[in-house]
Amino acid sequence: MVSRLPFYFLLTGLICFALFQIGTLSDFSAWLYEFSMEPRYPTGWAKAHLHVLGWATMIAMGAVYQLVPVVLQNHKLFSERLGYIQYGVFTFGFAGLMIGFQQMNVLMIGGFATIAFLGILIFAGNIGMTLARANLWNHVTVSCAIAVGHLVLTGVAGMLMGLNFAFEWLGTFHDQLLGAHLWFGAIGWFGFLITGFSYKLFPMFYLSHGHSEVLQRWVMGFLFSGVWMGVISFLLNAPAWSHWIGLLCTAAGFTIYVYHLGQICKSRHKANPGAGILWSWLLAQGIAVIVVLLVIVSAVFPDLILSPRMTAVIGWMYLWGWVGMTIMAYLSKIIPFLWWTYRYGSRVGQVKIPTMADLIDDRKVNILLMAVAVSLFILLIGFGWNLPLVLSIGGSLLAVSALVYVGLLAAVFTK
């Protein structure tokens, strides 16, 4: 029997994603202009968390619930029931947090953030116990464990910021906590999860065999060093070179990651792994190039990347361009797999049933992801050069193409 638990997370994540796009379309992306001037305002917080918590983290949690038992060779979750409880707690806390941000109600923000954080702790406990009981440690499971650990730390940093917001204990230390919150979440949680799961998904869809896995531990080592160097640099208000070393380690991690994905591709035995995997491969190369360029640029102009506008551009490139689009690309594989297993898994060998490729049109996946990428590029030009009209056009095109993509994914559930 297929667990329905990942479906809850994936569907909620897709709904949040669609709401984010509808919100953007409703004001012709005007909020993006405000966001590019100063990201730290109530609507900015709400939108950023709708994207990062409601969409990306919700989907990532669903993927963890689906893939961890698979990677552990059909070892069951520590507690499926706890998974459903976690879904309820996290979703309730997240929804209240959104309303709290919109209304700028400090009490609501604090209360619901605590509930959402409790949801994260339950998630970490459930996955931690599952991994510990299975005791099957490889680069995928270790990456997953590190990612979940960093998710908890992202929550801790966020909670401390929330408390400081309410009681003003820490003064300007708030900004240092924000830096730690971003490093833990962006690289520590999403970075480790995506790279770790890629070590499973790439060989599976390329049918790769015999490739070396040595570089996986180098990727982990560099990303880990990057996250902690970045976090410590912010917390200690360290000089620019310290931040730069964190960025350098991260760039080294992504560069080795891309090289390693190339090794996996070289040992493939299947010509076409599907549009979702090809896109995630392309996106990995893109983010590696961007991070390396950032290392070079920030060495010459150390203050440039810490300006609010540049932070917004980098944040969008990373969280939309790499994390968001990679999740979208992987969903074109994960959703057909989940639905196929649920609908047809118990009929294999009995009757003629469709293959997974029959559930989603790869050509449409390709076209829509291309549309998303082009729209994002236009949006980033608008962000970078402070062009409100270009920003509105790019943002709206991005929202439309993303919404159509959600429709394509949702259509799988009708097949």
Partner: protein, 102 residues
């Protein structure tokens, strides 16, 4: 008169079980290591392309469903093994052609 099942018949029946991602049957993929018949009892030793294959339950269940209920088969025992590990060399020429890479 009770029908006697043969290894060839079992292999043909197993060709109805497809890997849903690759679109290739498990025989041409080279996943079947051994088939033994003892009266009406069928024993299948097989593997999957990778340990921790998400299709584990569906494919093993598919082997049961493809064989159980066939005339001459009383019981089916499927033994999933990871040693020796599957390699692409185990695929039949039909399987290789279907993957489009060889």
């Amino acid at each position: 008169m009770e029908k006697h099942i043969t290894e060839e018949t079992i292999i043909e029946l197993l060709k109805e079980v497809y890997d849903p991602e690759l679109g290739i049957n498990i025989v041409d993929l080279g996943l079947i290591y051994e088939v033994k018949i003892n009266g009406g009892h069928v024993y299948v030793r097989m593997t999957l392309t990778t340990p921790g294959c998400p299709m584990h339950t569906a494919i093993v269940g598919g082997v049961h469903r493809a064989l159980e209920g066939e005339p001459g088969i009383q019981s089916v025992d499927v033994h999933l093994v990871w040693e020796p590990r599957w390699t692409p060399d185990r695929m039949t020429p039909e399987g290789r052609e279907a993957l489009g890479y060889f």
